[in-house]
Every structure is written in C-alpha cells, then in structure tokens.
C-alpha cells in the first residue's frame, strides 16, 4: 500500500498545481470534460471487442485478432483495463492499480520521472486516477516479440486519465508498441497520459507510439525517462491523423554513464490539427549519446517542433535534427532546436530546415518516368523515412505501414 503520508503529499502537491498552466500548448479547460467512466468488464476473448474499436486499434499497430507476434497485450478502454496477458514469464504486464497493490516498492517509481505538480494535467491525473499500464522486464529478460499496449477512449466527452510505469530491469530488453486512439465520433474527448520509464543498468527499451485520434480530441501526454549506466532508450512517435490539440515534451534524464537515447518523430498535421511536440534529453552521465530526429509535414495544420539537449558531463554527444515540409495548405511549422552545454568536452549539434519540396527533386524523378504525383509521393515517403536501428522487424514494418496508409490523405 502507498504510504499515507506520501499519498497526502502527492495529493496536496496536485491540488496546488490544479490550475497551473502548462509551459507550452493551448490551455485546455478540463472542466468541460467528464472525469468518471463506468467500469467495463474484463474480456478474456479479444474477439468480443467491437469491430469499430478493433479497426481503430489496428491503425495504431495493435492487433487484437492475431496477437501471435506479440509477447503480451494490455488494453485499456476509458478507465478500465479490459485485457491483460503476458506470454513470457519474465515480462510482467498488468494495470497500474493492480501493480501498485502488488508491489510496495513500486511507489518508489511513482511520480519520480514526471513531477506530479508539473502542470494542471499531471495534477489532474493524480487527483482523478484512471488506471494505466505497468510493464516490467525482469533482469536479463528479452521480449521475443513486442509487447502491445492500447489506450482507447470510447466514452463521449471523457477526459481519459492514465498513469503508466515501465521498468526494464538490469540487462533486459523490452520492445513496446503503444497505440492510443478513440472512437471515430464527432464528440469531444481528452487524453491525459503519464508515462514513467526506468531503464536500469545495461537495459534497453524501444517504445513505439502511434497516435490515431480524431479532430475533436485534445491530448496532453507527460513522459519522463530515467536511464542508468549503459542503458538504451529508443522512442519512435508517429502521428499521421488529425487531432484537435496535442502538446507533449518528453524528457529523458541520462543519469548513468554511456547511455544511448534516440527520439524519432514522424508527424503530419492535416487542416485543423494543432501540434506542439518536443523531446528533451539531459545528458548527466559521462559518455552518453543522444539523437533527436523529427520529420514534420503540414497539409494545413500547425506544428511546433521542439528539441532540447543539455550536456552536463564529459564526452557526451548529442545531435538534434528538425526537418519540416510544408506540403500544401496554409499551415505552419515552427522548428525550435535548442542546445545547452555546461562544461568543456561536450559535443552538441543541431540542424533545422523548413520548406517545400524542391522542384529540382521532383523533376529529377519525373526524368525517370514518374508522374508528378508519383514523384511527390516518393519524395514525401523518403522524407518521412527515419531509419531506426535496434527495432524488431515487426515494429519497423508497422511504422512503414502506418506512413504508407496515410500517404493518400496527404497528397
């Protein structure tokens, strides 16, 4: 059980921050959403999930009909974990509520990578807990296939409140694909998601998150990552479909020596979408390396692409690359790469570019017989191609499939 005093302190902090505006992004009025959802029954058989929900999940890489290439599955609808299964004895998967009941020590990880009083959204999740998932790879374990997790909003006007904790114990390797989606209704909804990652010595996590929201959903994820000696964290974020407003700025603290972290984001903003996305890496451990790569396209929506790397230890290296393409419409891309070095012996760099497709490149491909549309599609596909090392083939394929399926909407 959670220590009463600790709980009191957290609640008090949350109450104090209940009206604290976030540093970035449009301020969302949380009062207009509902905060309570009816408990949904547990489903042993995923086939009983409604077809509409299944179709939405599939677009985020969550395969409920055939989970043979997944090491485990956890699905949360609204505030209920409706399915949770692991196929490996050394990978634990359960709801966060259950995990907190099972493991006293888990409180040492609860709100440690993300501050409960960071803003009104973190505070809201503490004051209105709505479950979430707990995934833990035991020491030395390795997922054969990725673990899949899905967070689905079915209830109209719900502010889904989620707290996830992911732990890769020493020497383990954990691959996760997370699909976040909502029913394709015309109703408003909101997703508030806390994700805390702990990567122990020599462990590795690859976390691939695909968002498939709707033009009426506001999204405020809050993510913190703590990486110990020789730990590796690979984050791949893909959003190709419309969303009303999304703001996120995950932070990785590389506290150990020789850590590796990579953030890859592939983002498309159709008309009406407002996206403020970033990644921050604090290199506190000597010899640590990081790379933040974002590829953004607007077809009418607005994107702010942030990136921040801070070097605080010797021999750290970081590179930040923000590239944006204004494909059509009147949207905007605002790239804000930031570097901060606090001592000698660090190596940080960045490059940023925002523009349209070079006509010279289109003509070059047309010279080979491709039509203008084929040439443009090929260049866009290439632009969004982020080569990701260390991902299982299933996840690389899922990212490619997601990008390709959205191509038609873009052109």
């Amino acid at each position: 059980m959670r220590d009463v005093n600790t709980e009191k302190v957290l609640k008090e902090k949350a109450r104090t921050a209940a009206n604290k505006q976030a540093r970035f992004g449009e301020d969302i009025n949380l009062d207009k959403y509902e905060h309570v959802a009816e408990a949904l029954p547990y489903k042993e058989d995923l086939a009983t999930i409604p077809a509409e929900a299944k179709a939405q999940m599939l677009q985020t890489g969550v395969t409920v009909d055939d989970a043979s290439k997944r090491s485990g599955t956890i699905i949360q609808m609204d505030h209920s974990v409706i399915h949770s299964v692991t196929k490996q004895s050394d990978i634990e998967i359960m709801s966060t509520i259950k995990a907190l009941e099972k493991y006293d020590w888990l409180h040492d990880y609860y709100w440690k990578a993300v501050s409960v009083d960071a803003d009104k959204y973190t505070a809201h999740v503490e004051l209105n807990p709505g479950n979430g998932y707990f995934i833990r790879a035991l020491p030395g374990s390795k997922t054969t296939f990725p673990v899949q997790a899905c967070l689905y909003i079915g209830k109209k006007n719900l502010a889904q409140s989620v707290h996830n904790i992911i732990i890769a114990e020493e020497g383990s390797e954990l691959h996760i694909i997370t699909g976040c989606t909502a029913s394709p209704s015309e109703e408003d909804a909101m997703h508030l998601g806390i994700s805390e990652f702990y990567i122990k010595k020599g462990a590795k996590i690859s976390f691939t998150m695909i968002h498939n929201w709707s033009p009426h959903v506001a999204v405020r994820p809050r993510t913190g990552v703590v990486i110990e000696d020789n730990g590796v964290y690979l984050s791949n974020y893909v959003i190709m479909k419309p969303v009303k407003s999304l703001q996120t700025n995950p932070i990785a603290r590389c506290v150990g020596k020789n850590t590796v972290s990579r953030f890859n984001s592939v983002v498309v903003a159709p008309p009406g979408s407002s996206l403020d996305l970033g990644s921050q890496v604090i290199l506190d451990g000597a010899g640590s390396r990081t790379e933040i790569i974002s590829r953004t396209i607007t077809t009418g929506g607005n994107i702010i692409a942030r990136g921040y790397i801070e070097g605080n230890a010797i021999d750290v290296k970081g590179h930040l690359e923000c590239r944006g393409l204004i494909l059509k419409g009147e949207g905007s891309i605002h790239a804000i790469p930031e570097l901060r070095g606090n001592l000698a012996g660090i190596d940080l760099s960045h490059e940023a570019a925002v523009g349209k497709i070079a006509e010279e490149e289109v003509e070059y491909l047309m010279m080979r017989g491709l039509t203008r549309d084929e040439a443009t599609a090929t260049i866009v596909r290439g632009f969004l191609r982020v080569d990701i090392e260390g991902l299982p083939p299933e996840l690389s394929q899922q990212i490619r499939d997601t990008i390709e399926s959205a191509e038609k909407d873009m052109m």
């Binding site: 490149e361 047309m366 010279m367 080979r368 017989g369 084929e374 090929t378 260049i379 290439g382």
Partner: protein
C-alpha cells in the same frame, strides 16, 4: 538509310529570359551516337535539358521531333516514358529516397528483381544502393548511379551530360563499359535500338565509346559538324578559337 530518332529544327531556347540557344539543327538516327563539344557556357547542357523537357528551359522557337512525334511542348515525364533518358552532370540529392528505390522506379516493372540486381552489380553499386540517392556520392559514384538508372529505364535516346567529369582513371573504363552496354554497342549498328547524344568537355570518353558524328556548340549555336575524333584533335591542338575562325 536509318530512320531519325531525334530531329531538332531551328531550336531557340531561353533560360530566365536570357537567350541561350539559337537556330540549333541536329538529327540523330536510330542506333547512332553523336557527341557535343563546346567550352563552358556554350549551351551544351541547355540543349540536353531542353530535349529532356526540363521546364526551366523555355523553347522560344523551333521544334523537337522524337520518333516522328512533335514533343516540343511535352512534359518531362511524358518524354521519359516515350523513351528519352538522361544522365545529369550534377543530379540533386533526394534525402530518404534510396538508390535502390530509384533504380526500381526507373524500371517501372519492366525488369525482374534478378535483372535489377545484375544492373546494380555491373555498375559496382552494391555498397551504395541502401544510401540516399546522390547523398555524399563521389563523382564516379554519381555517374555509375545515373547509368544504372538508365540501364533500368531502357530509353531509346540516351542523353549523357559529361559522363567522364569527376571520374578517376579506374572508374572511367567502367563508365565507358556501361555506356556501351546502354547504347548496345556490341550489336551491329543496324540492329541497335538505342541512340546517344553525349556532351564531352575533355573528349576522354571517346577513348571508350565510339561516336559517329561530332558537333561544336559555340555561343548557343552549332558551328561545326564532322568526325568526332578529328574535331577533338583540332580542339586539343588549337582550342575552340580555331572553331570560331571557321564560322567567321
């Protein structure tokens, strides 16, 4: 007599409203290879890019006939699909588009995977195919990549803009070999389906590739036509000044 594949009649071209080519006339018959000489800025690349159909090169007079069809105002991709292919001197880098993808796109489903692999191998591109097209390529690598794309594209008319520039002595022989393969030089001229128009600044490529006719382009006009080796000999010996005298 062989049938013409390309006929250029009284062609005049401007770039950014600046006249570059004037009254250019030229005919390339099926199976023949012709060579264009000329100093920097004489309009050689403009001529090739205009035949290819790049929109920057605006035709203000004359006609281009390809395989009997007037293509003067046809878009670049339609010309490519009709059978014109070009190797650029400095092609652009296209980030994210792999060299392999380009070669595959050029084939448009005509060649099997095995045939495309053979093109990659014979062009010595095996180590480059997974790299973004032209990204960080050396001069020789660019030329080999361009020729591999043309081998996959199989154009009837091959336009080559300085295929030997930036290529070292080891690579130039391979470049020559690939051009000969592309232009079906092993076959008798009567059996060749492909024709070529090659820009050469130095003439080195003539040591590897046979050509039937040479032209000298000066100030945007063709001022001389004849045996390419003789023309080259004169240029090497006396420079383009001698060519200028011929037209005075």
């Amino acid at each position: 007599m062989s049938e013409p594949i390309l006929e250029i009649k009284d062609l005049a071209v401007t770039v950014d409203e600046r006249p570059i080519l004037h009254n250019v006339n030229l005919t390339v018959n099926k199976g023949e290879t012709h060579v264009l000489f000329g100093p920097n800025g004489s309009g050689k690349t403009t001529l090739l890019m205009t035949i290819m159909g790049a929109p920057k090169y605006v035709i203000t007079g004359g006609k281009i006939i390809f395989k009997g069809q007037d293509i003067t105002y046809m878009p670049i991709d339609v010309r490519a699909r009709l059978g014109i292919g070009m190797s650029m001197q400095r092609p652009p880098v296209v980030r994210g588009v792999k060299t392999r993808d380009m070669i595959t796109a050029c084939a448009r489903g005509r060649e099997s995977d095995a045939e495309l692999e053979e093109i990659v191998k014979s062009s010595n591109l095996s180590e480059l195919v997974e790299r973004d097209i032209n990204y960080g390529f050396s001069g020789g690598e660019i030329k080999r990549s361009e020729l591999a794309q043309l081998l996959a594209q199989q154009p009837d008319l091959v336009l080559l803009d300085e295929p030997e520039s930036g290529v070292d002595l080891v690579n130039i022989s391979l470049i020559g070999h690939l051009i000969n393969k592309l232009l079906q030089k092993r076959q008798h001229i009567r059996e060749r389906e492909r024709s070529g128009l090659i820009i050469t600044h130095t003439g080195h490529i003539l040591e590897y590739v046979d050509a039937r006719t040479g032209y000298v382009l000066l100030g945007g006009a063709i001022i001389c036509e004849g045996d390419p080796h003789e023309i080259l000999k004169t240029i090497v010996k006396k420079g383009y000044e001698e060519c200028r005298k011929c037209v005075m």
